[in-house]
Symmetry: C2
Subunit: 663 residues, 2 copies
């Protein structure tokens, strides 16, 4: 029966392939548009290729280490886990950079519905490939090794797969996050501020790098992040699905695999609804996107109820998975509230006092916005535990990600629409084209806010599930793992410091990489004769390459630190102290990630609100103040915050893999 | 023998009285100076009086509740604890507002040494009165009730005293913090920015309110905060100093009381050294201030070693107290580093890119600066526990505060020097006078950074000590109070959200109070004919009164929330879950308090650095960017951050007092 799940995974890949085919055969537009799209495409691939080369330098010794310390099988699963993530990144990036110009062209010739269809099809490939590869990898490894090896060895192999996923996510999210903001700052600071040319102007040597950044940060990075969460949640649930004698409880493992399989199927249905709703113009874009996600969620929940009662003989496991999903949706809704509506208007109002009051207001909004999500996560935790014990906590993590195929599709569609707008601008299309892409883009911003909340909530629940699996694998005893133990408490203090350290390092990395980009852009403006007059072409490739190597060089220190901390903590404070570190970093990591995502989002939207004419409109004193807020928020919401999501999961999964063997 | 400790407490009051006498008989300067000083004085007393009236409205029902739920004795100790804090606040404020104009006059007529002498004498009164009253209150209650009541009842009475201290600290620190920043923003925004008149200009209707704010925020607020820490640390140590049968272990209690008594004596000696060193001009100001603190610390540590070996027969307890002191000094040193030297120069450099890069740089510095202090606290925790178990944790809290008399003297001296500078400016003294007060003020800024780090570290250790005492009093069992329990973990999630919620509320309170002040200042500029021409006087009192009532009204919501949260958490999650809330809030509270204090301090000093001519100097583009950073940092470092110190201690001490009776 588990073969059926593998089949659904393959079906997901098939649908994705079909979508790629449909995108590919659409009209890519005129040669100028295609030229720009190709430049973005080449830049994105150049970045990804170099990023993965850097990664190999670390991944190969790490894989060998795993082989010696643990087992060659785990080296294998680690490699497959990493490879699948790389594959998903390339496929997603490929279709995204095909879809962008086709979205512009569709907006130009066939209207809003078709443009949405195109952008969403691109996003859906990412969503489907990520979840299909996750399901295929986990199910295949589980089926192959379950009957040949001991359960604990099979568990290690699954965890290895998850570590592989985390490893790629680290590079994709952190490296991509540094890249995208450095390019953005470089393009804005020299182009908009110093040279006085508009955004997305083809004369700007950093304009392609900026568009590449949207792809590598928001598409490949987001994809790798959620792939890591997805795999981590499923693996920790499988690891916890054991009987008293340590062997797998097959009804529990079936429940998990069937749940994620049916979730993928529901996601495919959701994707089809959105796509055809858009294509035939039957649904309004905002409603269509929502409808797809809602249908997928309802179908998925319904099947889980049936599976829970039939396979496990109780609706309690269903309550845990559904609780996770509800928590994710609620956190997303809170995020949406704080990055739109009243709080954003308040920030805009406060900007009348200048940049300082704008920053203070956004800071307050960000702090406040973290409260409800933390309470929601606490409630989900308690609910899941009472429904199904420690296993329930892992199920909650799985539950919120079962429809990842659909939710990630909606997330990844935004940056494609954004890119399409850039291409419209750079290729000098009629303003009406830009209007359509702007509508789609602003819709994307709303769904992105939801998606970010979802990603943070899933990172927190996955990190908790992995931590719980860790506690079982290393045999943490309740009476030793208590908060009155000085080692545990000290671990928690050190743990809460880690996301702060990591934020400081990534923010600084953005600063130094941005400086390199700024210098290069200035140099080109100075040295390339006739550039500003539009008579000569800038050297886009050079800028891309400088941003790429800068971002990757500057991510080495934070990356190495992150991998080292679990080991150092274990040697200093023991397995209980390391447990404290994991909990502490999950706690403050969740707090800071929400704060950064929401303050950044709220500043961004306050600026956009003023630009639509609210208060004194574009160019006014108020507008300038909101631009400062937006610039401050950018590295928080797009680099430091998302990196924290990786930090807390990676530390947990590395501990889960290695510590049982170091004991 | 414990009577000797009472005697030292009385000696401290005597020395303080002598200092008041010496300050009082000094030359207060000409009638303009005295007039300004009186206005500040009246404003400060008006604020304190109104603040305490507001407080009574809450304190009286609370005291009655205590009498019914627990015992009338505890109502008594609560009232005495609160009363002593009020008393210390009035005495400290009284001498500070006497010393400010006399410092200006000394700078004018007798040079730097005498000016330092005067400002420091004012600060020393605050330091000595706070620690003397703390010691007298605790020792007297302990001696009176130890032999007449059961140990657990005596413990409750001591905790009641501590809750009284916390209650006043809440109003002083939060209300004062909101007031001082609202007045500051109001004065700057309308005076400096809109009307274009310099800082501390007598034509500005908010100038007195601004100076009042320095006193109520930095002197009365800081004093009440550290009084709360001091009392909380000693009380939690006494509560934990019990034998197996629950009665007091008299050798342990003696050790605690002798340690704090000898610490006060050492502080008196330190104060004398600074005072006479300054008076006779034998020591450079910076060196003199340091020497006093260092001598007090060394003397205090030496006596603790002797007491530890003699009374408890081991140097282990000494290691715990000394460890606490060392931790406090190290955290102070880290704070000093991040708010001066390299990080500050880096922020100034980054300000070349405008306000946004200034903010991002300061944000990164603040995040990074929290890492080492958290590790230091973790190390102190582990060290103290291995030295002397749970009791050792409380001893570490006591250890770092034994020389509070000297350290608080140095802290409280800064705002007096700052006020003296304001008076020099407003009364139109020769620039050379302002130069002297500026030197003293900038020296005060350095010691203030140290003092803030110290206050945060002491708040964290005291909160932990109170939490540990709570865990003993409610009988938390290790196997139930573990991090795998969903209630504990959920409590930790809710706990980490509390400092964020509280920061958002206090930041918003500053905003709305500042708006009231801004409107009033604008009104006066508009309606009082000839004000800007210097031909009419502004209505200082009106501004003071508006800022006062605004601040107090806006602190009601955060204050009520803070008191309610322990009860709500207990009813929802039980005593273990409440333990999780206390630990969670201490964790994120420490992180956020350090982040806010240090980023705020670094932004402030980056601005000052540029004003001294670094980079492009005052009035330049870089300078304007640093002004934005300074304005953003102000409510963080002076309102939200310090309020968190109170939050974590108050929640712990309220739980410690009430929950044993609610069980």
């Amino acid at each position: 029966m588990e073969l059926l799940v593998l089949g659904i995974g393959l079906l997901g890949l098939l649908v994705a392939a079909l979508l790629v085919f449909l995108v590919r055969k659409s009209d890519p537009g005129d040669s100028v548009m295609v030229g720009i799209s190709n430049a973005i495409r080449q830049g994105a691939f150049a970045f990804l290729t170099k990023e993965y080369q850097y990664m190999l330098l670390v991944a190969i010794p790490f894989a060998i280490l795993i082989g010696f310390v643990i087992s060659p099988y785990v080296t294998l699963s680690f490699s497959v886990g990493a490879l699948f993530s790389v594959l998903a990144g390339f496929v997603g990036m490929n279709v995204a950079t095909l879809a962008n110009t086709r979205t512009t062209q569709a907006a130009k010739t066939r209207g809003e519905g078709r443009a949405l269809d195109m952008a969403f099809s691109g996003g859906a490939v990412m969503g489907l490939v990520v979840s299909s590869l996750g399901i295929i990898g986990i199910t295949a490894l589980f089926l192959v090794f379950r009957n040949t090896l001991h359960s604990s060895e099979t568990a290690s192999i699954l965890v290895g797969f998850s570590v592989g996923a985390s490893f790629v996510a680290l590079f994709a999210r952190v490296g991509g996050g540094i890249y995208t903001k450095a390019a953005d700052v470089g393009a804005d600071l020299v182009g908009k501020v110093e040279a006085g040319i508009p955004e997305d102007d083809p004369r700007n040597p950093a304009v392609i790098a900026d568009n590449v950044g949207d792809n590598v940060g928001d598409i490949a990075g987001m994809g790798a992040d959620l792939y890591e969460s997805y795999v981590g949640a499923i693996v920790s649930a499988l690891v916890l699905a054991t009987l008293a004698d340590g062997t797998f409880d097959t009804s529990k493992t079936s429940f998990i695999l069937y749940s994620v399989g049916s979730g993928l199927l529901a996601s495919i249905i959701g994707v089809v609804i959105v796509k055809f709703g858009a294509r035939f113009g039957k649904l309004k874009p905002a409603f269509g996107l929502q409808l797809g996600t809602i249908v997928a969620s309802i179908l998925s929940i319904a099947v889980q109820f049936f599976l829970s009662v039939r396979i496990l003989g109780s609706y309690m496991p269903f309550l845990a998975t559904a609780g996770g999903l509800v928590a994710g949706i609620l956190v997303g809704a809170v995020t949406t509230y704080y990055t739109s509506s009243k709080p954003v208007r308040m920030i805009a109002e406060q900007s009348k006092g200048g940049p300082a009051t704008n920053i203070i207001a956004g800071f307050g909004v960000g702090m406040e916005s973290s409260v409800l999500p933390l309470v929601i996560i606490a409630a989900a935790l308690v609910g899941a535990f009472y429904a199904n014990g420690i296993f329930g906590v892992a199920l909650a993590g799985v539950g919120m990600l079962t429809t990842l195929g659909a939710t990630l599709a909606v997330d990844a569609y935004g940056p494609i629409a954004d890119n399409a707008g850039g291409i419209a601008q750079m290729s000098g299309q009629d303003p009406s084209v830009r209007e359509i892409t702007d509508t789609l883009d602003s819709l994307g911003n709303t769904t992105a806010a939801m998606g970010k909340g979802f990603a943070i909530c899933s990172a927190a629940l996955t990190a908790l599930a992995l931590f719980v699996a860790y506690s079982q694998q290393v045999g943490l005893k309740a009476e030793l793992f208590n908060l009155l133990d000085p080692g545990v408490l000290a671990g928690a203090f050190i743990g809460i410091a880690m996301p702060a350290l990591f934020s400081a390092l990534t923010i600084r990395a953005v600063g130094s990489t941005a400086n390199l980009v700024v210098e290069e852009v200035r140099r080109q403006f100075r040295e390339i004769v006739g550039l500003l007059a539009g008579k000569a072409e800038p050297d886009y490739k050079k800028t891309v390459s400088i941003a790429t190597s800068g971002a990757l060089r500057n991510m080495v220190l934070p990356a190495v630190l992150m991998v080292a901390i679990p080991f150092v903590s274990f040697f200093l404070l023991g397995k209980e102290g390391l447990g404290g570190v994991l909990v502490g970093s999950t706690l403050s990591g969740t707090l800071l990630a929400i704060f950064m995502a929401n303050s950044g989002g709220a500043w961004d939207n306050a600026k956009k609100l003023v630009e639509t004419g609210y208060l004194d409109g574009k160019g006014s004193f108020v507008h300038k103040a909101t631009v400062v807020g937006d610039t401050v928020g950018d590295p928080l919401k797009d680099t430091a915050g998302p990196s924290i999501n990786i930090l807390i999961k990676l530390m947990a999964v590395i501990s889960l893999l290695f510590i049982p063997f170091l004991l």
